[in-house]
């Protein structure tokens, strides 16, 4: 059983999704909710067990069907991927819990779809095979298409149409890139590709470069990097808050894939192609921060504000990935965990605040007072302080760390002022949004406010996400050590290649 542990974060959500479609478990609301919550918690615990095992025994390489690499597909659970799997399953469990308060009944098949989405995201994090990465991308995308439409109105259909068409084109480009790379390298196992890339000569180098840069286009689309970020604000702002909260991890899948591909395959050992995407990533990352900040300043409602904050976080992460040092990757890992949890908390808060303000919804204007201003206000304050990056919460630590790792670069004089100005703009917009929503009130509490009172399940989910900001800063020591360990292993390319190709022995 223990040697199959690396496969369970993929198997369990799949099992949960299938079981939730079958009779005794799908019969009533209660059955569905209990089964779904239990399965998501079990998946989270299993991921934690795998994390402990990886910490104790080192990277786990699991050959599916016992077909050894590079011929079969391998799953690679190294410290980085398993940390992200834990983050995904945690977020999945929180979202399932939150939705069990009533959001899951606004459409059909909510619970199975959530589990299929978690399956796809976990698979994308764990796989060591480029084509398998494509397959898991499709799994998570088709689940996300349906979740996006869940309980949606007409505005939602338009955003979904754009999102689906963009991603279908993206998938086609992904396949072209894989075709080129396979044609040149003759393998799809990422470790094997990394070995073969260094041996390329003549025209093949250019072909591989085209393939690698096409992959960059695909990951930029999934990760919402400028200029392919335009789908994100509308999509995230029209999805249900709980779905948007779970989507917070999806842009990170794109960033993670960039980290993998441009460190492992086109990293330092890649001969003529080493670091080929670095300058692209750096400047696109900076441009994305600028665009995201402009979006934040222009946002008229809380959900759009948060969606633009997601874009800023993607830009920051991509700029860090481009730096390609162990310290910058470690800072990126810490920032990734922090930004995912905090933006998820903000999406959920935007939904709750909107619910209690009736017709004003989550627009940043004066509106009727909320039923529970204290609870929502304190949570918003915590999440807001964290996302701005003010002391003492996790955002501050992440920001100091990433500024420190970019101190001695060629372009520090560009990055620092730009990033700090962006932070200032975010500070202004988030505090303006908070003070307007909570302090500028007019009229009475809305009529059906009692129905919109925060449900205990929603409360638990909200606290779990909001508390992550102080907890991440309280346990910043062990977590940053873990991040440095994970980054060290990520950059130890030769060791990784040997480990994967020898089956983890």
């Amino acid at each position: 059983m223990m040697q199959h542990l690396a496969f369970l974060p993929i198997l369990l959500p799949m099992l949960a999704g299938v079981i939730l479609l079958m009779s005794p478990f799908s019969k009533t609301k209660k059955h569905r909710r209990v089964t779904s919550v239990v399965f998501s918690i079990v998946t989270f615990l299993v991921s934690l067990a795998l994390l402990l095992k990886v910490q104790a025994d080192g990277t786990q390489v699991y050959a599916i069907g016992d077909w050894s690499a590079p011929f079969g597909i391998v799953l690679v659970a190294d410290p980085l991927s398993i940390l992200l799997v834990c983050l995904t399953t945690f977020l999945g469990a929180v979202c399932v819990l939150y939705a069990s308060a009533g959001d899951d009944e606004k459409g059909s098949f909510f619970h199975p779809l959530i589990h299929f989405l978690v399956l796809g995201v976990n698979g994308a994090f764990l796989t060591g095979d480029a084509f398998n990465l494509f397959v898991f991308f499709e799994v998570l995308l088709i689940a996300s298409y349906s979740l996006l439409m869940h309980g949606g109105d007409k505005k939602n259909t338009r955003a979904a149409l754009h999102y689906v068409i963009m991603n279908l084109v993206g998938s086609a480009v992904f396949l072209i890139a894989l075709g080129i790379l396979y044609g040149v390298l003759g393998t799809l196992n990422m470790a094997d590709m990394a070995q073969k890339v260094a041996l390329l000569q003549g025209d093949d180098v250019y072909l591989a470069k085209i393939g690698g840069l096409l992959l960059l286009v695909v990951f930029a689309l999934k990760g919402a990097l400028l200029p392919l970020h335009l789908w994100l604000p509308n999509t995230y702002a029209t999805a249900m808050p709980v779905v948007a909260a779970l989507f917070a991890i999806m842009t990170k899948v794109g960033v993670y894939s960039m980290m993998r591909v441009y460190t492992l395959i086109f990293g330092e050992q890649a001969g003529q192609l080493s670091h080929m995407a670095q300058s692209w990533l750096w400047w696109l990352g900076l441009a994305t921060i600028v665009m995201g900040t402009i979006g934040v300043l222009a946002s008229k409602d809380l959900r759009k504000l948060t969606a633009n904050l997601v874009i800023v976080s993607v830009g920051t992460l991509v700029a860090l990935v481009a730096v390609q040092t162990i310290e910058s990757s470690a800072a990126a890992i810490y920032y990734l965990v922090h930004s995912t949890l905090v933006t998820a908390a903000l999406f959920i808060l935007a939904g709750l605040i909107g619910g209690q303000r009736g017709e004003t919804a989550d627009r940043i204007t004066a509106g009727p007072p909320m039923l529970q201003p204290r609870l929502l206000g304190i949570c918003f304050l915590v999440a807001g302080v964290a996302v701005i990056g003010m002391p003492p919460l996790s955002g501050f630590i992440a920001k100091v760390w990433l500024l420190k790792t970019t101190l001695n670069l060629e372009f520090t004089m560009v990055f620092w002022p730009l990033y700090l100005l962006a932070s200032l703009a975010i500070l202004v917009s988030v505090s303006k949004a908070g003070s307007t929503v909570f302090w500028h009130q007019q009229g009475q509490v809305i009529d059906n406010a009692e129905q919109k009172r925060v449900h205990p399940a929603q409360f638990a989910a909200l606290i779990m996400l909001t508390a992550s900001a102080p907890l991440l800063s309280l346990f910043a020591g062990p977590l940053s050590e873990y991040a440095i360990g994970a980054a060290t292993q990520l950059h130890d390319v030769n060791n990784n290649i040997n480990l994967i190709l020898s089956g983890g022995k």
């Binding site: 007409k154 338009r158 149409l161 086609a172 396949l175 396979y182």
Partner: protein, 127 residues
């Protein structure tokens, strides 16, 4: 054979991209389908084009690369499911937005005002 094959892929991609850039859902769906055909052909050719070679060891003197064939099979299945989804979504979009324009807007000048009003209504969430 290579020339024929390559130009076939090229023409399909060109038609697909042209149709995707049309702003109506039906041409977009057709364009996506053509694009994915082209991609499948392209992926197949990643294993090199060859005649009279079996993809199984021992059936011919030289063998063809079986992996791209398996990849294409996977890509076809996934592409089929995605096309089915986008067709249904396009129909729903036609019903919900009142037009088959991808932005839910008719470019027709006469209807411009009507549709802009409708757009505003949709923005407000009244429709």
């Amino acid at each position: 054979m290579e020339l024929l094959y390559a130009s076939c892929v090229g023409v399909l991609v060109a038609c697909g991209v042209f149709l995707i850039l049309r702003a109506r859902t039906f041409p977009v769906v057709l364009g996506l389908t053509m694009f994915s055909y082209a991609v499948n052909l392209f992926l197949f050719s990643a294993g090199r084009l060859s005649l009279n070679k079996a993809a199984v060891l021992g059936y011919s003197a030289e063998y063809a690369d079986p992996l791209p064939q398996a990849l294409v099979l996977t890509a076809i299945v996934i592409g089929f499911a995605m096309t089915a989804f986008v067709v249904i979504l396009a129909i729903r979009g036609r019903a919900d937005l009142g037009s088959d324009h991808v932005d839910g807007r008719v470019v027709d000048e006469v209807n411009d005002k009507v549709n802009n009003d409708r757009d505003d209504e949709i923005q407000k969430g009244n429709v």
